[in-house]
């Protein structure tokens, strides 16, 4: 029994109606090992993983093939029998804990539910065990966190709470579906560490068998014993992690392993007068009292952007990256400071801006799914700004639309398709094309790649880069993808909690010296090296941040006692960079890739 594979999948096909989603998938996994399913979205990796629970989304069904988990023939079981397995022997950790937790029920109730459904413990036992798991998962105040509602805890914590929910029944098999994709790199480190230990501890230390679904090879490298690569619903390669990472056989796998890096951008005329300059910008939500909003989001931001220049803005979620874009675009009036377009101040509110000012500044939204009106066709979406800004109609408009499609490398035949029928990449291109339709001076790109697969994302980035070069657009790049920013942008602005902690030229940023927070970000980027996770220290949390002091203080591991916790961090300038810290720039251990 032990040496027999714990999981055995043979020529599995799942299809919705007659169209196959995945076909002819086969793999085996010994007990206690972790198999990673790698692939782009739509490659069928989640479908395959869920099939192991006998679950198919959107009215799909297991068309053919066999699935064995332990002794159990999943493909033969009835709905009731499957229900008896799910959450008991096989449990699931979903991608977005925020969405997968029921917003209106307390966390504890949801965490222990599997144990209660399958009647394997009493409520008290279950709750006790849950609290133990909370501790094991390094969750703060483990005793009380269960009394909260999902919206009252952070994303990283929720993800770990979901792990507790999955492990409460000591399952034989845990399925992790992109469990850290939605998290910041820093949080990802903690969560990965927790998962690793937790999984290992299951089944009296023998460790649970696990399926880890992800698109990020680096992450997978840390977790998996074996890797299966899926592409367009087919299994292209499967084998030990080492082998797949070191010597991938299949061409597609190779393309994944040495993922395309955006080419370093050509420098723009650096001395050109700033087309956009932001001066002492403070903004936030709620009532503004003498320049301070009730809920401040951004504090004292300043930077210049020359025509055709690029500025990258990085930081964790909640650092105010997107808010900055919204302020520049006029969606959120600034409380203090001003935004200058060609040296002339931009009115803070939309109402006060002129058509030309609107046209000059174009915002490309993060999520193309919500940024494009689902009721419209591509043509209508692109024609709208053409008519609005340039009064183009009929044939003229159509011609321009065609040009835009061509410019953004979209096939001409999408023109009359409803956007809901486009792929993620295509949507993002339309999203981009809409901004370009205005023929803007400044392009604000807000996390334009975050919703996309690496390959597609890279393509979009290089597209933007080309456009920048060809059209001389000044671009502001908001992204959590530090690599991309580092290579694309001439200047990089690092935000922490709305405060600009570092503003560096590309050279300086790619150099070794950084603000401690920047350094933390860089260190948190996983690498292909399987030992990376073990080597990286878990981020620290020390109390709450206090007004007036360095906002990063609670998480800073190089803080100087007696100084950092007494005076506000002073702004300093060095060659090619400006930062906010008592210390000089900190060298960070690894070279930034």
């Amino acid at each position: 029994m032990e040496n027999a594979p714990h999981i055995l999948v043979e020529s599995l096909s799942v299809s919705v109606g007659s169209t196959p989603i995945v076909s002819d998938i086969s793999f085996a996994l010994p007990r206690g090992q972790v198999l990673a399913l790698i692939g782009e979205s739509g490659s069928g990796k989640s479908t395959t993983a869920l099939a192991l629970m006998g679950w198919c989304r959107h009215g799909g069904r297991i068309a053919s093939g066999t699935i064995r988990v332990g002794g159990m023939a999943i493909d033969r079981k009835s709905e009731d029998e499957l229900a008896a397995l799910r959450g008991r022997y096989i449990s699931y950790i979903a991608q977005s804990a925020a969405a997968a937790f029921n917003p209106s029920r307390r966390i504890m109730a949801q965490v222990i539910e599997p144990a209660l459904i399958h009647r394997i413990m009493t409520r008290q036992q279950a709750e006790a065990k849950a609290v133990d798991l909370f501790r094991a998962l390094a969750l703060p105040d483990a005793e009380t966190i269960g009394d909260r509602y999902p919206h009252q805890v952070s994303g990283g914590q929720l993800q770990r709470l979901m792990a507790a929910m999955a492990l409460i029944t000591d399952p034989e098999l845990v399925i992790l579906d992109e469990p850290t994709t939605a998290l910041d790199v820093t949080t990802q480190v903690e969560v990965l560490k927790c998962f690793k230990t937790a999984l290992a501890s299951v089944d009296h230390g023998r460790g649970a068998t696990a399926i880890y679904v992800s698109h990020d090879l680096a992450v997978v490298a840390q977790m998996a014993d074996r890797i299966a690569v899926l592409h367009k619903g087919r299994l292209v390669e499967e084998g030990p992690a080492e082998q797949i990472l070191r010597a991938p056989q299949d061409a597609y796998t190779q393309s994944l392993v040495n993922a395309p890096r955006p080419v370093p951008a050509a420098p723009s005329a650096a001395d050109a007068a700033p087309v956009l300059s932001v001066q002492g910008l403070t903004a936030g939500y709620g009532k503004v009292t003498d320049g301070q909003p009730a809920i401040p989001v951004l504090r004292d931001i300043s930077f210049d952007l020359p025509a055709g220049g690029t500025l990258g803005i990085i930081g964790e979620s909640g650092s105010g990256k997107s808010t900055l874009a919204r302020v520049i675009a006029g969606l959120l009036p600034a409380a203090q400071g001003q935004v200058l377009l060609d040296g002339a101040p931009l009115p803070p509110t939309l109402e006060a801006r002129s058509l030309d000012q609107f046209r000059a500044v174009q915002l490309v939204f993060q999520n193309a799914d919500t940024a494009l009106n689902p009721a419209h066709s591509v043509r209508r979406i692109l024609a709208r700004p053409l008519r609005h800004y340039h009064g183009l109609r009929g044939a003229a408009a159509d011609r321009r639309v065609a040009e835009l499609l061509d410019l953004t490398r979209l096939p001409a035949d999408v023109i009359d398709r409803p956007v809901t029928k486009l792929s993620g990449g295509q949507k993002q291109r339309v999203n981009l094309a809409r901004a370009l339709a205005a023929e803007p001076r400044i392009l604000l790109c807000d996390e334009v790649t975050s919703a996309l697969d690496t390959v597609v994302g890279a393509a979009i980035l290089s597209l933007i880069e080309d456009l920048r070069r060809d059209l001389g657009l000044a671009t502001v790049f908001i992204s959590h993808d530090i690599h991309a920013v580092a290579s694309l942008c001439e200047k990089v602005l690092v935000l922490y909690g709305g405060t600009p902690v570092e503003l560096a030229s590309r050279e300086a940023f790619n150099g070794p010296e950084h603000h401690p927070y920047t350094r933390l970000l860089l260190d948190s980027l996983p690498t292909m090296d399987p030992s990376w996770l073990g080597a990286t220290p878990a981020p620290i949390h020390r109390g709450e941040k206090q007004a007036g002091l360095c906002p990063f203080l609670p998480r800073c591991d190089v803080a100087i006692a007696g100084i950092c916790d007494h005076q506000p961090a002073p702004p300093k300038t060095g060659d090619g960079m400006r930062w906010l810290c008592h210390r000089g720039p900190i060298k960070h251990d690894k070279e930034s890739a």
Binding site: L350, R353, F358, R359, L363, A371, P374
Partner: protein
């Protein structure tokens, strides 16, 4: 129309039947009066509540009038008033809702109060007063029915608009410098169409119900004409002997309303 044709092509049988029904009723509403074998008010039968016969296909009513003829006229009234009022209500409700959701603040507050006022006056009593004051006429009936169902539509439309207004593509339009109404028209409204259609179907049913309610209170379509509800009402005493005079209109109402709603359900795109 093209859209409809494609819908027809891929609609399941049930939905085609629904569509066929509605088409049938619309046809009757249009052609009814010409098809009617007897004048709507003429006392053509010596007997009352007579059964199906060659001369009176659907028998005669409580005054010995030809049921078929009255049914044909009644259909016209019900369809015109019902759909008319429902459409009117949705039109007003939705435009007001859009205004409220886009202007927000004071305007929204005031409008909402007005709607509360309207909705909390029992419609039949409103009808009673208006009819007593202005005398019963088709436009008035139309107005009353519409007025009654504006608030309901407003609530739904407003909720929809509010949700949509929070989405990025609306923000995008604002950042583009589009005006309120352009946004309402180009961005918000297109995404409200289908839920509003479903609502329209339900409103239609309610208007039909309200109409028959009004006829019960003697406020509805005035004799000798009658909407389907009034036909049921005036022949109610024939219920004991199960006279076609009452069964026919009752059945007609059920088929008409159910058909309409099935059709509307069918018109939803796969997305929703």
């Amino acid at each position: 129309m093209k859209q409809f044709a494609s819908l027809w092509a891929k609609a399941p049988a049930a939905n085609r039947i629904a569509a066929a029904f509605v088409g049938f009723w619309l046809l009757l509403a249009l052609a009814g009066p010409w098809l009617a074998p007897h004048p709507v008010g003429a006392f053509v039968d010596e007997d009352v509540f007579s059964g199906l016969s060659a001369r009176f296909w659907l028998g005669s009513d409580y005054l010995g009038r030809d049921v078929l003829s009255r049914l044909l006229y009644g259909t016209r009234y019900t369809v015109v008033l019902g759909l008319g009022a429902a459409l009117l209500a949705s039109l007003c409700g939705t435009s007001i809702a859009l205004a409220a959701s886009l202007c927000g603040g004071r305007v929204d507050e005031v409008i909402s109060r007005l709607m509360d006022t309207l909705i909390s006056i029992p419609s039949k009593i409103l009808a009673l007063v208006l009819v007593a004051a202005c005398g019963s006429s088709l436009p008035l009936l139309l107005l009353i029915c519409a007025l009654t169902y504006v608030p309901g539509n407003f609530r739904i439309a407003r909720a929809l608009a509010m949700n949509l207004a929070a989405l990025d593509f609306v923000a995008a339009a604002r950042a583009r410098g589009e005006g309120k109404w352009a946004i309402a028209w180009h961005e918000v409204l297109p995404n409200m169409v289908h839920p509003l259609l479903a609502d329209l179907g339900l409103r239609f049913v309610f208007v039909v119900l309200l109409l028959s309610g009004l006829s019960f209170l003697g406020l509805g379509v005035q004799p000798p004409y009658a909407d389907l509800g009034s036909l049921v009402r005036e022949n109610i005493s024939g219920l004991t002997e199960g006279a076609p005079a009452i069964l026919a209109p009752a059945l007609a109402i059920a088929l008409l309303t159910v058909g309409t709603n099935l059709l509307i359900d069918a018109m939803k795109p796969e997305g929703q």
